[in-house]
């Protein structure tokens, strides 16, 4: 088998990156997003990320509207028409729920970080609290504002 060893050595010295390929083996994967059974705790965690990042849409619309208010009446007319249209209502209502969900989930993360509420029962109760609480706070905000 000496010739094989030499051949491998020659190939390796020819191209350094082959070394990693030769040693690559099938390793077990830890459960990840695609194959892990969805649970309340994972869904509420993923929703935190989705709501946080999606909020950029609402803030871009809000900043455009504010810039238009600082500019000419013509530009405000356009931005205000979009911001108060069915599309604007949809974006801002969805953003309102997203901001409340992200808010409660963020508070939950601060609570977790302090070392509390990490047992399954409490974590799931807090998860339902985020979902229910965000809907209630959204409705209250719509009524008040």
């Amino acid at each position: 088998m000496l010739w094989l060893g030499l051949a491998v050595q020659a190939a390796v010295s020819e191209k350094e990156s082959d070394m990693a390929d030769v040693k690559r083996v099938e390793r077990p994967l830890s459960p990840h997003l695609q194959i892990y059974r969805p649970q309340l705790t994972s869904i509420t965690s993923i929703l935190t990320r989705i709501t946080g990042n999606a909020l950029i849409v609402g803030i871009v619309l809000a900043v455009w509207w504010l810039l238009a208010a600082a500019s000419t009446p013509a530009s405000f007319a356009v931005a205000n028409a979009v911001a108060t249209s069915w599309f604007g209502d949809l974006v801002f209502t969805a953003s309102l729920w997203a901001v409340w969900y992200h808010y409660l989930a963020g508070l939950r993360h601060l609570y977790f970080d302090a070392g509390h509420g990490l047992d399954i029962g409490t974590a799931e109760k807090l998860g339902w609290g985020c979902i229910g609480g965000s809907v209630v706070l959204t409705l209250i905000t719509i009524l008040i504002v």
């Binding site: 990042n53 900043v63 509207w65 504010l66 208010a69 600082a70 808010y103 963020g106 008040i144 504002v145």
Partner: protein, 123 residues
Amino acid sequence: MRYLTARKRAVGRGASHTGTAHHWSMTVSSVGLAFLVPVWVYVFGSALGSDQATVVESFARPFPAILTALVLVIGMRHFAMGATVLIEDYAHGTARKMLIIFVISLATVVAATGLFALVRIAL
């Protein structure tokens, strides 16, 4: 000459070489936003739907102007850092770098645009 040993320089910094600085920064900004955002939602929601003169008048007052500036600066930094972690989890190589540069730029442009509008309205 550095008197710290290699071990001493490495301890507490982890695989990222920045320790818990990112996590701590997100913690601090989240607490700040927890106080700012509900009030800002009320201020913004009340102004939305008014005519231009009323909008300008409401954001020209010190409290709404300073509040909006704080939400923009802290919020966009919080967004840029959070979106960076999202990208780091799912994108690799050049795409990762380009996307991270894009979200940081987007956050900076949004904050700068909002601050410019505030300066024009309030000053």
